[in-house]
């Protein structure tokens, strides 16, 4: 008993202020830019503020036919893309894949899918983008946190997104996207890839949501690459379940060909 008390005392003494906060918040430290007690995890009492946000209710389908243009690549990224293009041309236009078709495309292409709609869920300190495709979910932190330092950030399909509202426009900043994922027609980016999105309702069409995407990469892009897509609203639409493993009729063969079963 005495030993236990001593041990507890020693542990308590070792806890700095941050350590106490650590214990209070349940295991994780506040992210960069936030103090203990701040952030999306402390939503209670802030829900009424959401009513000031714009009306993005319903689900949103991509409008087809947007013109994306081609990114201006440079250096090895250009060389590699030329090689990719030549290979696709030599293979009847078929792009070889090194991963399953049940694997999602990641940012930014996950926001550019024609077949599967999106919904935007507002909560204090965050906007959640639910995506029918692959049943993906994307968190945009709007609680004032910052990106972790790039070297501490685990690269992911979605990357790390922080956002803020400029009037009725949600401005989203994303880094930390896996550099193995093409961002446009076979074009790859570096680990310095940076996406800025400006999401807002169309000024003259309230059932159209606009996403102005700006991509920058000091290693891969000779100039910023801009893609604007629009989505149309369906107020009573819902996202359908997407369990690719239950209906995977397009497996990828050993040599990268998408098959058809």
């Amino acid at each position: 008993m005495k030993r236990t008390s001593l041990l507890l005392f020693a542990c308590g003494a070792a806890l700095t202020t941050a350590g106490l906060a650590h214990a209070q918040s349940g295991g994780s430290l506040p992210p960069e830019g936030l103090q203990e007690g701040q952030g999306a995890g402390f939503a209670k009492g802030h829900y009424a503020e959401l009513d000031a946000l714009p009306d993005w209710g319903g689900v949103w389908f991509l409008n087809r036919g947007g013109n994306t243009g081609q990114p201006k690549l440079k250096g090895d990224y250009l060389t590699n893309w030329d090689a990719w293009r030549a290979e696709v041309a030599a293979n009847n236009g078929v792009e070889k894949r090194n991963r399953s078709n049940c694997s999602p495309p990641g940012m930014p292409r996950i926001m550019q899918l024609a077949q599967y709609p999106y919904e935007f869920i507002f909560a204090p300190g965050r906007v959640t983008v639910n995506q029918e495709a692959w049943m993906q979910t994307r968190t945009i932190w709007t609680d004032g946190r910052e990106h972790p330092p790039l070297e501490e950030l685990d690269p992911t399909y979605m990357g790390h997104s922080i956002g803020h509202w400029e009037g009725d426009t949600l401005v989203v900043d994303t880094i930390g996207v896996l550099d193995t994922l093409p961002f446009s027609n076979g074009a790859l980016h570096s680990d310095k890839f940076h996406v800025t999105e400006r999401l807002h309702l169309s000024p003259d069409k309230p059932d159209t949501l606009v996403n102005e995407m700006l991509m920058e990469d000091p290693d891969a892009l000779a100039e910023p690459f801009k893609v604007t897509v629009t989505y149309r609203r369906d107020r009573y639409g819902v996202l359908y379940e997407f369990q690719c493993s239950e209906n995977n009729r397009n497996p990828v063969s050993l040599n990268g060909e998408t098959e058809f079963e």
């Binding site: 077949q115 239950e246 009729r249």
Partner: protein, 125 residues
């Protein structure tokens, strides 16, 4: 490609476009989007599930029966254009228009359909 009953000129491409940003679950390069076939068929299965709905049909060809698999877009997109999970059932006699697989296998990408009652969805002819 014995199953080609009546090759038709393509009138329109209803299926997802192969170019960005209209990215889909996979590339459509496997299909010949410039060719449309008409299949007079009997439904053997209708699968209403992401990532793609599928129709499987039997097509009689010269006394034989060929089993075709036809990939559609997502159920949600289909619902937006008038489809329902109950739109087809096994045994239904239909005429289906497809962009065939390039490799000659008995499969294709859905373009349009004429149901047994004469009603249609998608691009016909």
């Amino acid at each position: 490609m014995k199953a080609i009953i009546k090759p038709l000129l393509v009138l329109a491409v209803l299926a997802p476009m192969p170019l960005a940003p209209a990215q889909a679950h996979h590339s459509y390069a496997m299909f010949d989007m410039n060719k449309t076939l008409e299949l007079k068929a009997t439904v053997t299965r209708f699968k209403w599930q992401n990532p793609h709905a599928f129709i499987e049909v039997d097509v009689p060809v010269k006394g034989q029966v060929e089993r075709w698999a036809i990939e559609m877009t997502s159920p949600n997109n289909l619902q937006q254009s008038g489809w329902k999970r109950t739109s087809l059932k096994t045994g239904d006699k239909v005429t289906i228009y497809v962009h065939p697989l390039r490799n000659g296998s008995k499969g294709g990408s859905y373009v349009g359909i004429r149901f047994a009652d004469g009603s249609t969805l998608g691009q016909i002819g």
